[in-house]
Amino acid sequence: MEFTVDKERFRRSIQQVSTAIPTRSTLPILNNILIEVKDSKMFLYASNMDFSIRGLVDVESVENVAFTVPGRSVLRILSTLEVPVIKIVYADRVTTVKWDKSEYTFPSLDPLEFPKMKEFHEEKSVTVDTSALLTGYDLVSFCAAKDDPRPFLNGVLLEIDDGELRFVASDAHKLALFVKKIEPADTKIEAILSTEVFDFLRNAEEPQVSLAQDKGIFSFSFTTSKLVTRLIEGPYAPYKEVIPKEEGSCFRISLRDIDGALRRIQEVVSQNNFVIEWTLSEGGSMINGISESGKATEYLTGEYKGDDLRIGFNVKFLHEIVRRIKSEEVLFYFYGPKLACMIKPAQETDYETLYLLMPVSLE
């Protein structure tokens, strides 16, 4: 059985589905992509058991067939290839990829061994801008934990209701919230998603994506591709309860100044101790850092309104937040030396972001 396929479409589809191929797997089948040709349509599947991706490419074929190919190898081969069309031949459990006089053959594993993609009724779905999802994710995901024993902290919370798209991520020391107004929809979404699934959106070309959720399963769907993932078990931490309702003592500073100060001070404190001591009063504000490699004092130019305060922070965490602020000025709201500091951009955009950072106890 043989058929031809547009090389560039095939490559792009493999690239999109291959984000589901695990880096290391004890199951050899998972290093492969399952290809199903059915009624002149080629479906490509990749899975790491937590999530699966399906891609679709039109082909010229008269027969229906299913086989597997080693995903990453084929992608690398196609990436350096400059031909418009390739021919794929499948016979006796061997797949051959051909163009001009060149050909590559791969033994196919049993397609029946490939894990089935979970399907569910998606009548209730909601459509949002792909770019809005990616912006929200990029502004919060760095706050998610990496290997916290509480699984929900290792993911990001995606909520859609009341005409709002919300992203929340936290590692229990810092928390990020992103809110954007969207067209109100009947369907509500509340899903804790692994940070790995969002790479799928980056490879997409369509401006809008459809989201659907059913019990423990969630999907992102485009016209020609789809990702289905297991949800991380919740409930998520009660983030609304920990966001201060009042504004507290406020420190306003230019983003450039605070970013520069934090970058410089890390040269001293980052050797083996990330703690800085921030002293604030209406007369002036300064940050001190001390470690084996030296001592640093930065006087800050910003304006402070509130009670005198001495507070400690992990400078790495603080700088991670400041680096994500998209505004000329930053607002820091303080509530006490042992309470979370709220950090916001001073200038408005078409979405809201808010960060919380817990201090380091200096006592």
Partner: protein, 396 residues
């Protein structure tokens, strides 16, 4: 005035303590073993047993094969710590500057002592008469040379090596016999044709630096008797650089759960010492050695410091799983480094601080009523923790 360091090093200390209590064993092959007598390892062996090829760290079954007449005695950590404390107390009363380096070694600054050999004789006589434990004393211009003087004059020796005599007395030694240059570095030096201490003296420093980086200069300094800081005990005054604990298991283990248990046990020990010294670590290293004496290690630094036993355990296990091969394990070591004074990162959801408070409370109970009086459920059935010998470092 040139510095003079004296090292007081007890000979086969654990065995000597046992022989002092059982004089009939004097002059016979004796070993002190950890863990059960069958399946454990020997922690210390008498010089009579060493003649048969028995070495510390050998499994007891192998020891019995080599030396069938050996008397094996289970380790009694409390006894050794008591005798060590008494000896160290005597040294501290006699000298101004004493650094207790381990349970059976102490460095003494004797720069201002008129006749260190005579004083060394006094120390030897007093300890032998009071505690009936033999010892060796090495004197040199640095800690490393004092240690080498001890090594070449053991057992029951006393030797001073002056700066001018270094080449005559130590020049013939192989490079890996210099404390601080292990077998691997020794092998690398040998591959460059540098076999002895004298070769290391004569080799161009630039050549060493090109091959080993900053360690190259350090190797040369060690050989030439310069005080490099190696063997400097940092717990007395200067800041600690790392806190670690390793243990050879009573028998080789392969069971996943048992490996986890031992790892937790080691992490608990490291955690308690971290909390005792009021420091936390931004890095952790793990070392594993297998039954065939092969091994490997891994280190990692984190943005969030390690302080509680659970944090150390989770990180250690994560690293261990990255390097562990599926074969019987003989030893695991866990060490926390990049230490800094305790400053607790507070938690938004208020769970982490609860754990810190819980661990501090457990430490208080165990400090009062003895190690592992209250222990994690995973350690509930572990017997071998009672056989633990004081780690290298301050006895308790």
């Amino acid at each position: 005035m040139n510095k003079k360091i004296m090292l007081v090093d007890m000979d086969a200390f654990f065995v000597s303590c046992e022989v002092a209590a059982r004089p009939k064993l004097r002059g016979k092959p004796v070993g002190v073993c950890t863990g059960p007598q069958r399946g454990g390892v020997v922690a210390s062996v008498s010089y009579e047993a060493r003649k048969y090829g028995v070495k510390a760290g050998m499994p007891t079954f192998k020891v019995r094969d080599l030396c069938p007449g050996i008397t094996l005695i289970p380790a009694d950590a409390i006894k050794y710590a008591y005798i060590s404390d008494s000896i160290m107390e005597y040294l501290k009363n006699k000298f101004e500057k004493v650094e207790i380096f381990s349970v059976d070694e102490a460095f003494i600054d004797v720069t201002n002592v008129k006749d260190p050999i005579e004083v060394g004789m006094e120390v030897k006589d007093h300890i032998k008469k009071t505690f009936h434990t033999p010892l060796t004393i090495g004197i040199g211009p640095s800690r490393v040379i004092a240690k080498m003087a001890c090594e070449v004059s053991k057992p029951d020796g006393l030797l001073e090596i002056k700066e001018s005599e270094l080449l005559d007395k130590l020049g013939h030694l192989e490079v890996y016999e210099i404390p601080g240059i292990g077998e691997r570095s020794g092998e690398a030096l040998r591959s460059m044709g540098i076999r002895t201490v004298q070769d290391l003296w004569e080799v161009d420093e630039g050549l060493l630096t090109r091959k080993f980086g900053i360690r190259g200069k350090w190797f040369k300094d060690l050989a030439m008797g310069k005080d490099t800081g190696f063997f400097t005990l940092l717990e007395n005054g200067a800041p600690l650089k790392s806190i670690g604990h390793s243990e050879t298991f009573p028998r080789d283990i392969i069971d996943e759960e048992e490996i986890k248990n031992y790892t937790l046990y080691l992490c608990e020990k490291v955690g308690r010492r971290l909390r005792k010294h009021k420091v936390m670590g931004y890095g952790i290293s793990v070392y594993i050695r297998y039954y065939d004496f092969t091994g490997n290690g891994i280190s990692r630094k984190f943005a969030k410091p390690l302080f509680t036993t659970s944090e150390i355990y989770n990180s250690a296990l994560f690293l261990l799983n990255q390097i562990r091969e599926i074969k019987p394990v003989r030893l695991i070591g866990v060490s926390v480094f990049a230490l800094a004074p305790v400053k607790i990162q507070l938690s938004i959801f208020n769970d982490d601080c609860k754990e810190v408070r819980l661990e501090r409370t457990l430490d208080k109970i165990n400090d009062t009523y003895g190690d592992f009086t209250v222990r994690r459920a995973r350690l509930a059935g572990m017997q071998s923790i009672h056989h633990a010998i004081p780690p290298r470092g301050i006895p308790r």
